[in-house]
Assembly symmetry: C2
DNA sequence: TCCCGAAGTTCGATTTAAATG
DNA sequence: GCATTTAAATCGAACTTCGGG
């Protein structure tokens, strides 16, 4: 009894292909062929097509995507896994992802892993259950975790990772060239006449730390710059990106207490730079008058800071776009049963010179 | 020929309920009942259950959600529409949404409308086609747009809007109490001894502007504070939240040029405050030594700024959580065929006193 | 009536195979 | 054989109905 009423109500609310068939006077097969412009549509006369299209529009027909996906095994959906949404680094990358996906008519399912293994696994399962056609992993601030990669590999759908370079041929990656960026940062300070330079390096376990330091070393070597090991400190390991602000503050205080003069400071990233600037200010040191500071990333806040922060910009929006185009290629390859192998892209950063560094000349 | 091979390959890759039925020796009906722990499962002996569960686990069975959704008409998915993803205001709200959704096993589909009508409409259509069970709209920095509301209303699924107060009983809303917040901001400055105060108001067309100004007026009236109309300026209308930084900078320069002294400045939001601080610095005025500055929102950058920004905090994560719990209630009501009407929540902001304001006493 | 299990229908669209003139 | 159209099978799970003990 109730079910009869329901059915009527449903019919009123949701128009199926059969309703269009009935209204137009053709079979649902023909309607499907016409509306999807399938190969067979070649044989269908224009009048028929018009009649069907009019009925569809009149009734406001919208195909049921569950039914369609059930048959086609496609979801037109992409899973996006972010390791920490509150990291300011994410925002622009996400916009790049969203924007490019939009153009390809895919929809992103966004998950935030909170840097937790269990969340990662549960989310991965949920996404796979929903048959996302590809995966984009934003591995900002992620510590070495081989297992994560293994989980990803066995998922066997096109996957791109942003922010880590990998040596796999199953997972693509998009990375900034950390070495180049750090090299450019130090070169910038050197060209402004700075010779006594302090360094706050990244946490040892963070993938970005080593290449950035390598870039620093390489410039120092080629220019003959002497580095004072007492002016080199390391960020502690932490799961929380905000903590690099606090650590930057504390480490800068430590540096100042040593009374070894320095005229410039290279921070591991922008957050660390902000912490350093705060510590300098607390000691009555102004940036850039008393000390130049340079960061890395160019998060949104950096250009808003007073002084605005000189930094090495990661082209985040572009990186998001690149990741999407990689996985879209992957999806197409899968669709056409072609082989495809992972691609590893390293993008060049760009020096953003602003107010926090000044020339000594 | 190819299809035969395909079928075999598929069978190997994707295990259906029938495979479990075959393996366990029971019918697919029984398997379904057991694995879903349906009401009828009461009657099924433990041995049978165990056998079926073991088969399912052994084969790695995962139910096909398309098929399930097709029958149940449920997607376990929620659409999230953000008007501008790059607005720093979004991040924490999104985390609140994600986090709460996670606990209810819903997945968010994130869309970024870029403040464009056409994108809004296309995305709304896409989300509805995917049968999202509810909608959360993050209407930060959105200008009055009646049509948007109308579109939302006719979608007839539970909808919550964050950042706008509405007078509808079809769309719920979660808002900060702007009036209270602005009142508290001015009260704070007044209690520190400030009497000559400049104001940068929000754009006239932005919904938040009027109530915030009302809060200012109400405190001024009750305390007898005199306001100098030449120290009151308005942000221009713009689609881009970053622009409030630039406008804040420019307007503060204008204020300073007037040579009418002021010891404190109330900015419409944190971005505006950052712009103001930059302009003050350019004129050699230090914050808070020469001028106190207070913002509104408490975006992530505010506590990282030097000086750290005193501001009125919107409990953004909580607001995200509230929106989710409203729409989850809505979903449950729909499921149980209960009536439900929109709820309008106004949450109290909290004054975050930091370094950018100081006492004159 | 209670317990256990299976056959068959349904959800809505796509596709194959086949039937018309 | 050709243009035009359609009945029937399919995708995978869930639910309704029914039968035997």
């Amino acid at each position: 009894m109730q079910s009869k009423d329901e059915k009527l109500a449903m019919k009123a609310a949701t128009i199926t292909i059969r309703d269009v068939a009935k209204d137009s006077g053709f079979s649902s097969t023909t309607v499907s062929i016409v509306l999807n412009n399938a190969p067979l549509a070649r044989y269908i006369p224009a009048v028929t097509k018009k009649r069907i299209e009019q009925s569809a529009k009149k009734l406001g027909y919208r195909p049921n995507l569950f039914a369609r996906s059930l048959r086609s095994k496609r979801s037109h959906t992409v899973g996006v896994m972010v390791f920490d949404m509150t990291d300011p680094y994410c925002t622009l990358v996400l916009r790049g992802i969203e924007n490019t996906l939009y153009q390809s008519s895919y929809l992103p399912i966004l998950t935030d892993v909170h840097n937790e293994r269990s969340r990662f696994e549960r989310y991965l399962e949920m996404l796979l259950d929903r048959r996302v056609e590809a995966l984009i992993v934003l591995a900002n601030w992620l510590f070495v975790d081989i297992d994560v990669l293994a989980d990803l590999e066995k998922s066997s759908i096109p996957t791109a990772m942003i922010g880590r370079d990998l040596r796999t041929d199953s997972v693509s990656s998009v990375m900034v060239d950390n070495e180049l960026g750090a090299h450019a940062a130090l070169e910038h300070l050197y060209s402004l006449g700075h010779r006594k330079i302090a360094f706050i390096r990244g946490p040892k376990t963070l993938a970005d730390s080593a290449p950035r330091w390598k870039g620093i070393r390489s410039f120092a070597k080629s220019s003959g710059l002497e580095m004072d090991s007492r002016l080199i400190v390391d960020l502690p390991e932490s799961r929380d990106p905000i903590s690099s602000f606090e650590a930057g503050y504390k480490l800068t205080e430590d540096l100042l207490r040593q009374k070894r003069p320095f005229t410039a400071l290279v921070a591991f990233d922008d957050m660390t730079a902000f912490g350093a600037i705060r510590a300098l200010a607390k000691s009555g040191l102004r940036v850039p008058e008393h000390c130049s500071v340079i960061g890395f990333d160019d998060i949104a806040a950096s250009s808003l800071y007073t002084p605005s922060l000189t930094t090495v910009r990661q082209p985040m929006e572009v990186m998001g776009t690149m990741a999407v185009s990689l996985i879209v290629d992957g999806i197409n390859a899968v669709q056409e049963k072609r082989e495809f192998s992972a691609v590893h892209r390293k993008v060049a950063p760009e020096l953003a010179v602003r107010e926090s560094t000044r020339s000594l000349f």
